[in-house]
Symmetry: C2
Subunit: 244 residues, 2 copies
C-alpha cells in the first residue's frame, strides 16, 4: 500500500523543479491529509515517470513544493481498450475504477440497443480514473472518450485492432481458448462488454460478421456488466498483457 | 438477463409441489414486483436444480405458489474457496457479491495482521451472496464461514487443497504460469487475498514455507483488495475452473 500520497500532476515534471498547486490537490494535501512543510508525496504526469516531492509551504491559497528525485521511470501499459455500455451510476464508477486498476489504455462508453443509462458524465469518469491511477501506482491515466453509439464506433474501426466481445448467449468460445491463442501475438486489442440486458440479436449478428471481432464466453453464470469488465480485463492481462 | 424473478428457496423442491412463502420473499414478489396470481417465477434450492413456479394467490400474510416444472438440473460448481481479509463495508459487500457471481464455493473471512475492519457481519454476507446467486443464475449459495485469524485457518489446513496467495511484493509468479501449470489437474483449491496494507513479512514467510501454498502475482499495479479478488477468481476460472 502507498505510504505517501500520490498525485497526478499533468505537466512536464523533472527533477529539481518547483511545483505550485492551487486547486483541489492543494486542499487535499494540506487540509485533508494535514501535511505541512517538509512532508513528502509522489507525483506523476503520465509521461516522465514518478517523482518524490517535498512540500515547501502550505499557503492559504496555494501549496509550493519541490521535486526531489525521480523514483520510477515512465512505463507505458499495454494497448488494450475497453468499450462498455454504461449501467447505473455507482456500478459505472466501479467499471471505470476497476478498468483503470487493471491497466486499460482507453475507455469508450458505447450506447447499445439495450443501454439503459445514457447520462454519461465524462468529467466524473475522468475523476474516477485519476483517483484509481493515483491509488494503484499506475503511470498514466486511461484516455476516456465521449459516449457514442456502438455502430458509430465500429463504423470507423481500425480492423488491425482485434475486438473481443463478451457473449453470454452460449455461443462464445471459452476465454482461455481465445486469449490463449492470442498470447504472444502482440498487437492492439479491445474488449466489448454489453449492457445488463445483453446485446440484441442484430448487434450479435453484426459483431459475428466482422473479421476483426471474436466472441468470448465467461462461463455460464450471468455476470453483471461490471463483473464482466473486471473478469475480461483480468484474463486478457494474464494471457496477453503485462501480467506475464 | 433474467426475465422472471429468481428466488433461493432452501427446501427440497420438486415438480408439482405447493410452496408457501411468508417472509421477505412474499413481500418482494407481491408488493415490490407487484406480481399476482398466474405470474411466473423461478426457484432454486441449492440441491435439486431450478424450477418454474406459478403464483396461486398473493395473500396478505403469505403467498402460495405451485412448482410447474424443472427448468434446469442441479449442477455443482468447482471446488474453489476464497479467503479474504475484510475491508470497508461497501467494498466487502462487493467482494462477496463478485465472488458469488464468479463461482466461489466457500468464503472464509480471515483476520490478518493488517486487517483493518474486524466488524464481520456474517448475516449480511449471506444476504449478499443469496442476492448475487439469484441474479447470476447460480445453482447454489457459497458457504460462508465465521471470520477467524488467518493462522487459525491455516493451522488445520487440509494440505491437499492448494492455496494460492496473491503476492504484491514482486516475488509472486505470474498468474498465467501458476494457474497454467495447474490447468487440467483437478483438485481442490483456495485463493487468499490480503488486506489493503498487504501481508506482513512474518505472514509472507509463513506462507512461503508451506508446501501447499503458492505465491501468485497479478502484475505491477497495486490492486485494491476487491479488484484482486475478482481478478484472481476470474483467472482461476479461465485456467482451471468451469469457464473452459
Amino acid at each position: 500500500m502507498a505510504s505517501k500520497p500520490r498525485l497526478y500532476i499533468p505537466q512536464g515534471l523533472r527533477e529539481d523543479m518547483e511545483l505550485f498547486l492551487t486547486d483541489a490537490r492543494a486542499h487535499y494535501l494540506c487540509n485533508v491529509l494535514r501535511l505541512s512543510a517538509g512532508s513528502l508525496f509522489w507525483a506523476f504526469d503520465g509521461q516522465n515517470g514518478e517523482f518524490e516531492c517535498e512540500i515547501v509551504e502550505c499557503g492559504k491559497k496555494r501549496v509550493s513544493a519541490r521535486i526531489l528525485r525521480r523514483t520510477r521511470q515512465f512505463e507505458k501499459g499495454p494497448d488494450i481498450w475497453l468499450l462498455f455500455a454504461p449501467v447505473k451510476k455507482d456500478r459505472t464508477d466501479f467499471i471505470v475504477e476497476k478498468a483503470t486498476e487493471l491497466g486499460v489504455s482507453k475507455i469508450i462508453p458505447v450506447i447499445t440497443r439495450r443501454t439503459i443509462s445514457e447520462k454519461i458524465k465524462k468529467e466524473r469518469y475522468i475523476a474516477q480514473a485519476v483517483e484509481a491511477a493515483e491509488q494503484c501506482r499506475r503511470q498514466e491515466i486511461p484516455e476516456i472518450e465521449d459516449a457514442r453509439p456502438l455502430e458509430t464506433v465500429l463504423k470507423n474501426w481500425d480492423t488491425r485492432r482485434i475486438l473481443y466481445f463478451m457473449d453470454e448467449s452460449g455461443k462464445g468460445r471459452p476465454v482461455s481458448e481465445v486469449f490463449g491463442a492470442a498470447a504472444g501475438k502482440d498487437g492492439p486489442a479491445a474488449l466489448l462488454i454489453g449492457p445488463e440486458g445483453g446485446f440484441s440479436e442484430q448487434e450479435f449478428d453484426f459483431l459475428r460478421r466482422q473479421d476483426y471481432a471474436e466472441s468470448v464466453s465467461l462461463g455460464k453464470r450471468i455476470l453483471r456488466a461490471e463483473t464482466a469488465v473486471a473478469a475480461a480485463l483480468s484474463c486478457w492481462q494474464a494471457f496477453c498483457g503485462d501480467w506475464k
